[in-house]
Amino acid sequence: MDFIFFLEVLAGGLLAGVMYALVALGFVLIYKASGVFNFAQGAMVFFAALTYASLLKLGMPWWGALVATLAVMVVLGVAIERVVLRPLVNQPPITLFMATIGLTFVLEGLSQLVWGTQPHNLELGVSDVPMESLSRATGINISQFELFAAGVAGILVAVLAVFFQYTRVGRALRAVADDHQAALAVGIPLQHIWAIVWAVAGFVALVAGLLWGARTGVQYALTFIALKALPVLILGGFESILGAIVGGLIIGATEKLAEVYLGPMVGGGIESWFAYVVALLFLLVRPEGLFGEKHIDRV
């Protein structure tokens, strides 16, 4: 029985890790293409989820709300590129990082100003109950919703991989990620590319926002999931989509296992920092994360 409990905890952790990975994906996309560490990703997730939930409440059908929210996120991405990033070209990374913290404040204030501070419930049609067929067959309880989330994440990663690998824009994105100057030299319009990346990150934020919103309710606390995604990010490496997924799985699993087996020994509540310490220990061995690019310093 103990082993089954262990498996349950492990599976729960892995699936929770997928949820973290979804948020981390948004970070990776933007970091890859523009070298910006976008702290506002959490606020974008919140903004997307709140917009969708509020539109639903206004009586829109779900597909209408989805399209409208997606449009809003794309406009937002383009606007961010135009207003914030373009004037800050060639600034040091810390300046851009600070600008995205400023952006976080703007987005948080804006979304609550427009849609109010009321928390919303979000129904995606998949309830958070153990999957019956699986628990009957093996005795392991795994949430149906989490499996659904994992499926969505899988599809999302596949779509992104195809987009990056086989489309014209995707190739341009990879070229920009590789070397800004060289990409410019072969005639790739950097500014368009950045607008597209932010729009794609907005789309990823929408997916993450819907899943997280359905899980925990659409409320202000959603902005803090960015903090959950950060250890995933440094563990997997800032530049790697695969890293975000693998990092998410590792963090999710160790966090849950530690919470269950280690937590009672030290008084509980360790989930606030445990992921960071795990990521930190990994970094001591591999300073660029698991799949991050190795940087060679030259004087």
Partner: protein, 358 residues
């Protein structure tokens, strides 16, 4: 006309290396100190002293600490509030458990405790760089607060984790009135700011800057990387720790661990960004801006609702405040990425040539 160094000759090395080589600067600093130490406590009312000036000074000290680490040594840290928390709670314990020690030694010891924590969490910086390090310092932020909340000894087993600062007595004189608290804070901040200014002109400070500008090059010319980085973490945390102790003892009075959340770390980070990275003056300017800005905005929205005759709801105001705050940060970064200190520098250069700029 008024501000230029023409005619001020330096005839010895000591004069050449003094901290403020221009006479007008020396007069200006002296005037500023006189105003701060004598005029302000005489004319300032209780609200200004205890709700604006004291927190401004304390946050300026924390910003100074972060500026040493981020601005001078180039290590981005998001754990400032944690170091402040260590200082605050250790000062409480030193005053509580060793009352014979006196306030100042307790604060210094609390600062040293924060420095020790900073030293430990600075160790990853030897291996990890850039944003990876910034995220790693978040570990410190969450871990330290968790320890404070879990370990009853630190909060003297108070059930809610809230501690109440004891009244500190200095040379038989209790620091209880707003003016006394202000003066006490001001003295400590002034001494530490002077120390920081001098430190940055010394070999250590120059080593910090070399590491910031390019750590590989710095180690090639023989700057010990480990010693320099860890020293930067320790000194920075010491400043933050003392700031945290002051935050408890002269500003808030009662403090819970939740007072030192990530939000505070970000606020201090904003201060050095807006004030100017790698500038002592910038820490003060940034702290002044961040402390005064919400108050100004509050007053302004009060006027606005008075003017239009409409009640603007509190939620709208607080959201607007957040938006304007974030927008201003972006605006500042775009317009003047080097911060307010740079504006001051430009003003001084203009002043030197005034009124005949050609």
């Amino acid at each position: 006309m008024l501000y230029r160094e023409a005619g001020q000759f330096r005839s010895s090395y000591a004069e050449d290396q003094q901290i403020f080589p221009i006479r007008q600067d020396r007069i200006g600093i002296a005037l500023l100190l006189v105003v701060a130490f004598i005029v302000v406590p005489l004319v300032g009312n209780q609200y200004w002293l205890s709700a604006i000036l004291t927190p401004f000074l304390i946050l300026a000290l924390a910003a100074l600490g972060l500026n040493i680490l981020t601005g001078y040594a180039g290590q981005l840290s998001l754990g400032t509030a944690a170091f402040m928390a260590v200082g605050a709670f250790m000062a409480y314990n030193f005053v509580l458990r060793m009352p014979w020690l006196g306030a100042i030694p307790s604060f210094i010891l609390a600062g040293l405790c924060a420095a020790a924590v900073g030293f430990v969490f600075g160790l990853p910086s030897l291996r990890i760089k850039g944003f990876y390090l910034a995220v790693a310092t978040l570990a410190c932020q969450f871990f330290v607060l968790w320890v404070i909340q879990r370990w009853g000894w630190i909060t003297n087993y108070s059930t809610s984790g809230v501690i109440t600062a004891q009244t500190i007595v200095l040379f038989g004189y209790p620091i209880a009135t707003p003016a006394a608290k202000y003066l006490f804070t001001l003295s400590i901040v002034a001494v530490l700011a002077l120390a920081a200014k001098n430190l940055m002109r010394s070999e250590t400070g120059r080593a910090f800057m070399a590491v910031r500008d390019m750590d590989v090059a710095a180690s090639v010319i023989g700057i010990p990387m480990m010693k320099t980085k860890l020293l930067a973490f320790a000194i920075s945390s010491f400043y933050c720790g003392v700031a945290g102790a002051l935050y408890t003892y002269t500003y808030l009075g009662t403090v819970e661990p939740e007072a030192f959340t990530l939000d505070l770390s970000f606020r201090v980070l904003f201060m050095i960004i807006i004030g100017g990275i790698g500038s002592i003056l910038g820490s003060f300017l940034g702290a002044a801006f961040i402390t005064l800005f919400p108050i100004f905005l509050n007053v302004f929205s009060g006027w606005l609702s008075h003017l239009t005759g409409q009640d603007i709801s509190h939620a709208v105001i607080s959201n607007l405040e957040v938006i304007i705050f974030g927008g201003l940060i972006i605006f500042f970064l775009i317009v003047e990425p080097n911060g307010l200190a740079r504006l001051w520098q430009i003003a001084k250069e203009k002043l030197r040539l005034w009124p005949f700029p050609h």
